[in-house]
Amino acid sequence: MILWLPKNKHQAIAHEIEVNIMGLFDGKFLKENFTLKLSQETPVEEVLQLIDKKLGINLFTKFKGELPANWVMLVNGDRLDLPVKDSTLLLKSKDQLSVLSILGGG
């Protein structure tokens, strides 16, 4: 007897974070705001790879965690200064990740 157990369509998406990407990044102008679903608490570097995948770009992965000087990364409004690859911060439900590039002003 084969016992077929259907996949649980509501397999736990344990965490949803809000993502804002705004500004000029490596030759692309991005203005994105979306919710990213995570199955578990996830390190920032890995979240950036997920963002690349969602947007169909190779941006954050390419920089391997060392971001250019005019990019500002905020987690829940606070700036993340470390090289991202050195960060031990885990993003979880209701966190907000913003990546902004400063363009100057007049």
Binding site: E18, N20, M22, G23, L24, G27, K28, F29, K31, N33, P68, A69, N70, W71, V72, L74, N76, G77, D78, R79, Q96, S98, L100, S101, I102, L103, G104, G105, G106
Partner: protein, 668 residues
């Protein structure tokens, strides 16, 4: 002996004595153009010589100048800017203000590189320069009209819409210390309160039109340099570029793998942002990163003005959805400006200029106002009244905090419930300020005077340097803005260069490649003096030549020095140009020293330096070391950090000995 003809210039300036109604032309020797270039460089040279120290800024002895540069009224792209100069009534220091539009080139077409006004007219007048004729015409019927009405009325009575007009509105007439001068109905020579100087002279407007051409040394070279700019910044690729891209595109992955260097398209995309949105495209990122100050400089972006719910509502697409057509300054291919229409509602507006970043931040983030239509209205009111939008918005934020802290009751505010984000109250107070009506009279002269009038500890909420309200860039994020705010002769301004753009990663220090410049780290307070000075000096060249700063900001290698050489026939190197910039900077500073100012008189407010630091957000825990930044700038310039005096060697090197001899003698 044949008369020397200065290429790039009209060769003469005009002095208008408003007390006597007389005119006097004066030829300018090439040597002086070569030393001071133009714009406020030329302005400070004449005002240092001819304006007595201690003159009352709103008295007849002040001199008001409208100045142009060698690239104005030529084919040079991006070169429509002109400068207004005078002793500032807002700060009592040197004052200058920079504006775009079409007035600067028109002034030169009337035959003059600069026009200076002396004295005071017994009744309101406007200057008309019309194809070689000059006349002071009665402006009594214009007094009280806003700047837009003034421009329309003058064109009607002169019978010609081709006149370009610079005017003051009621704010300047009433000598508000934050009054500005408006041209093209919405381009502003905003800072330093120079609109009040114009009002104090009973000078309502200038209307200029002419047919003179600027003599150019090498038009063909200027054309080639223009082509470089056009190719770099142009957003419409030529057919050849399209064809090349079609061939190259399939090879791109191979080119990347082989590490073939390809030109960075970054500057075109920055240019695209400016063209699509103007600087309104920058608002939400600036707010969220805390480049923009929030809630009178004490707020935290994600708590008080978060991107998702607030700042995005006054940024980019949410601004330009009201734009009905674009506006470009003279000879500009970027066209960051626009004309707006708000069809209905409390802030309905048939036509007004697009608010740019500083206005959206000062009436938006600083006041916690997320209603974009009210900010469009505020911008239009400021243009019509003739207010500096930075100072006006910042002063209203100060008023809001006073109300919050109980310094004012609602009754004392003429019934206004002036709470954070209450856009109706913000607009109402702005109108009162424009009319000096009721409580508006307290706030019509900016935060320093308002705090002095109010007392009760309100000085702590007044965010200014030496009386001028800070621009909308927070030194807690980009520390070198503090050095610009404190060490430029016109305090609190963000357009006077410095190391900030390098800290933010926008410009590359290799531009000054022959200097061994240390690596730029944002919160390193040593090691920045040299780069700060170099970029400040370069910015003076940009401003005084007549170029818009967004060109070298977007495309750092813009061939500015080459363009100056092409226009003038000179053979300047970058070093020569930087020396001119240093001379201009130093003489403006000497103006302040002669007025009795010391470096310690230019203090950054505690809030803006992060004392105490914010407890959350992108600049959490940051207190910047302004003293070290400023000291290093002074030392790099060869100035004493305490007295501010340039060294004898610096004065000698810059050829200023004869000019500032009175200062050297007095300080001994």
């Amino acid at each position: 002996m044949a008369k020397e003809i200065s290429k790039g210039y009209m060769g003469k300036i005009l002095w208008v004595d408003l007390s006597t109604g007389t005119f006097k032309e004066e030829e300018v020797p090439t040597r002086e153009y070569r030393q001071f270039l133009g714009g406020y460089g030329l302005g400070v040279k004449y005002l240092y010589e001819r304006l007595s120290p201690g003159a009352e800024p709103l008295g007849p002895d002040n001199i008001l100048g409208f100045t142009t540069g060698p690239l104005n009224h030529t084919s040079a792209l991006g070169c429509g800017r002109y400068t207004v100069v005078a002793k500032s009534p807002l700060t009592n220091t040197w004052g200058d203000a920079n504006s775009g539009g079409h007035f600067g080139p028109a002034l030169k077409s009337a035959g003059y590189d600069a026009i200076f006004f002396l004295g005071k007219s017994p009744q309101p007048v406007y200057l008309c320069l019309n194809d070689g004729m000059m006349e002071l015409r009665d402006a009594s019927h214009l007094w009280g009209k806003d700047t837009n009405e003034t421009e329309d009325q003058i064109c009607r009575e002169l019978g010609d819409n081709r006149f370009r007009i610079a005017s003051i509105g009621p704010a300047g007439e009433k000598q508000s210390l934050i009054a500005c001068i408006i041209n093209d109905k919405g381009r502003a020579a905003a800072r330093s309160g120079l609109g009040a100087v114009m009002g104090s002279k009973n000078l309502k407007a200038m209307a200029v039109k002419g047919n003179e051409k600027t003599p150019i040394a090498d038009e063909a070279l200027l054309g080639k340099l223009n082509k470089i700019i056009r190719d770099k910044l142009s957003l419409k690729p030529s057919k050849l570029q399209d064809f090349i891209m079609m061939l190259v595109k399939p090879l791109m992955p191979l080119l990347f793998r082989l590490k073939v260097p390809l030109p960075s398209p970054d500057f075109k995309l920055v240019n695209q942002i400016f063209q699509d949105y103007g600087t309104s495209g920058l608002v939400s990122t600036s707010c969220e990163s805390q480049d923009a100050p929030i809630k009178n400089w004490r707020g935290i972006a994600y708590q008080d003005f978060p991107m998702g719910k607030k700042s995005s509502k006054i940024s980019d697409d949410n601004v330009i959805k009201y734009q009905v057509k674009k506006f470009a300054c003279a000879k500009c291919i970027v066209a960051c400006g626009g004309i707006m229409e708000v069809k209905e509602g409390a802030y309905a507006l048939s036509q007004g200029h697009k608010p740019e970043y500083e206005t959206l931040a000062s009436f938006g983030a600083v006041c916690l106002n997320d209603d974009v239509e009210s900010i469009i209205m505020a911008n239009d009111l400021c243009n019509r009244y003739g207010f500096d939008t930075i100072s006006a918005g910042a002063t209203i934020a100060f008023a809001i905090e006073c109300y919050e802290k109980g310094v004012f009751s609602q009754a004392q505010l003429d019934g206004l419930d002036l709470t954070w984000g209450n856009h109706a109250a913000i607009i109402a107070l702005l109108k009162k300020m424009g009319e000096r009506d009721g409580v508006g009279n307290i706030f019509a002269d900016g935060v320093r005077l308002a705090a002095q009038r109010i007392g009760k500890g309100s000085e702590a909420y007044a965010i200014h340097v030496a009386g001028q309200e800070l621009a909308m860039h927070d030194p807690r994020l980009t520390p070198s803005y503090a050095a610009t705010y404190c060490t430029d002769a016109t305090p609190a301004r963000h357009t006077q260069g410095g190391a900030a753009y390098f800290e933010a990663g926008l410009l590359k220090s290799v531009f000054f490649v022959r200097d061994n410049l240390p690596e730029m780290k944002r919160y390193d307070y040593e090691n920045k003096g040299k780069l700060h000075v170099l970029q400040s000096n370069y910015m003076h060249v940009i401003n005084c030549a007549g170029m818009c700063m967004f060109y070298p900001l977007t495309y750092q290698d813009v061939p500015l020095v080459g363009m100056i050489n092409a226009a003038t026939g000179w053979n300047l190197t970058l070093d020569d140009a930087l020396e001119i910039g240093e001379r201009i900077h130093t003489l403006r500073h000497c103006f302040n020293l002669r007025e009795g100012f010391l470096p310690k008189d230019f203090q950054l407010p505690l809030r803006a330096m992060g004392s105490p630091p914010l407890t959350a957000g992108p600049t959490k825990g940051i207190t910047i070391d302004v003293d070290t930044l400023n000291r290093n700038v002074y030392l790099e310039r060869g100035w004493d950090p305490i007295s501010g005096m340039p060294s004898a060697k610096t004065i000698q090197k810059l050829g200023l000995k004869e000019l500032v001899d009175d200062l050297v003698v007095a300080k001994k």
